[in-house]
């Protein structure tokens, strides 16, 4: 087993999860804004 790979994959896991939350939160904010603007 290649335990050395963890030094590469653990940061990838962290960055990946943070990245996906950032993109999703950005989409949520834009959609909420769009909803508010278009319902005026």
């Amino acid at each position: 087993m290649n335990f050395a790979s963890l030094s590469q994959t653990l940061p990838m896991m962290l960055i990946g999860m943070v990245g996906i939350f950032i993109v999703i939160v950005a989409i949520i904010l834009v959609i909420t804004l769009l909803g508010k603007l278009s319902n005026r």
């Binding site: 790979s5 999860m17 996906i20 993109v23």
Partner: protein
């Protein structure tokens, strides 16, 4: 003498039997099993049936369906034309995008957070698979957790993984096995009291402008963060724009039916071209199937635990039923239905369907973005 020649010529007809080996027989059983699951158990029949038949087709000795030496085979040609450049999964995404109604999700966009949380299994599996496989194959195996066949094909192909066949089998089989895989994980992570939490649903309204701008916004945002995902997200969202624009109904219907069906037929058979005995019958395959299951389990756990963490901060009466977090995987609509059925099994007046289906739809977007992020992290 003439009798001998006749006998030799006659026996020559059956000389190909000598090229048969036990690995090919194993693949016939695998192909037969896929066909059985497709027909008898109705598990993803549109994909498992062509894959099953194709598996038998390519595992006949010296099969003319795949390239042998200088002689090109049709399935190998199809693979080069539609898979090695990711064309088939992308075209299928137009059809899938046209099929999805994002309306309920747009009413409550915050539900998308569960879609993000339920991608945890992908990245956690990357760490575990990295212990056994080179990084490109580990990432390709981890994407089984996307619970999204086209995304899995796209990522595994882009990373030029040697394990496309087993990855496809795992991705599509576990998608069909969601009703078996998810409930024990959800039960293990939640109490009966949590599973009985009721969530009232007030129907909101979504303007046509929002519905039309949503696919454009998602494409731009996802593309800016993970450029490698532009094709995946873009084709999915283009399909959705066809549906929502209101002026291209015939194109939307064609994408949902004719295009999606045509590509599905070719996709299943073409994937099967990679399921030759020499690529499939090896110990690695079992490990890949196990890691795929691992990814699904931790996707489910990621969604459920995220909901439980949110509940710590939410006041009484506003708490979320943590089971809806499990629907954040992309297996649509199975996962949403499973969660709803589990809610009804605990309390026959607990209707979670609108929430679970919305979360399930968000999982479709999140899994595609996760695939793009994975490719970006791999330097593609």
């Amino acid at each position: 003498m003439e009798t001998m020649n006749f006998l030799e010529q006659f026996l020559e007809l059956f000389s190909n039997f000598g090229n048969l080996n036990w690995q090919m027989l194993v693949m016939w059983v695998v192909g037969g099993l896929l066909i059985y699951l497709a027909i008898a158990k109705k598990m993803e029949p549109s994909l498992l049936l062509p894959m099953g038949f194709g598996t038998i087709l390519v595992n006949l000795p010296l099969s003319g369906a795949i390239t042998q030496g200088d002689t090109e085979g049709p399935l190998s040609v199809l693979f080069e034309a539609g898979m090695s450049n990711e064309l088939f999964p992308l075209l299928l995404f137009i059809g899938i995008g046209a099929m999805i109604d994002f309306g309920p999700l747009l009413e409550k966009p915050w539900l998308m957070l569960f879609g993000a949380a339920a991608q945890f299994g992908i990245f956690f599996t990357l760490c575990i698979a990295g212990l056994f496989f080179p990084l490109k194959d580990a990432a390709s195996i981890a994407i089984i957790g996307a619970a999204d066949g086209p995304t899995a094909i796209f990522v595994a192909n882009t990373l030029m993984s040697d394990y496309l066949g087993p990855i496809m089998v795992a991705a599509y089989s576990y998608m069909a096995l969601v009703p078996i895989v998810q409930p024990p994980v959800i039960r293990a992570l939640t109490t009966k009291k949590e599973r009985c939490i009721r969530m009232s649903y007030q129907k909101g309204s979504v303007s046509r402008t929002t519905r039309i701008l949503f696919p454009v916004v998602v494409t731009i945002l996802a593309g800016l963060v993970a450029p490698a995902s532009v094709a995946l997200v873009g084709f999915l969202m283009f399909g959705n724009l066809l549906r929502e624009c209101g002026v291209l109904n015939s194109l939307s219907e064609t994408a949902q039916n004719a295009l999606a069906n045509l590509i599905t037929i070719l996709l299943g058979m073409t994937v099967a071209s990679q399921m030759t005995a020499d690529k499939f019958v090896r110990p690695d395959t079992l490990l890949i199937l196990a890691l795929g299951l691992f990814a699904f389990v931790f996707d489910t756990a990621g969604g459920v635990i995220f909901a439980k963490v949110l509940n710590i901060f939410l006041p009484e009466g506003k708490k979320i039923n943590p089971m809806i977090g499990a629907a954040g995987i992309s297996a649509f609509p199975m996962s949403g239905r499973v969660v709803n059925q589990m809610g009804l099994a605990e309390d026959n007046q607990n209707f979670l369907l609108m929430y679970s289906i919305s979360v399930n739809v968000s999982g479709q977007i999140a899994s595609v973005i996760a695939g793009g992020l994975l490719l970006a992290l791999m330097g593609v």
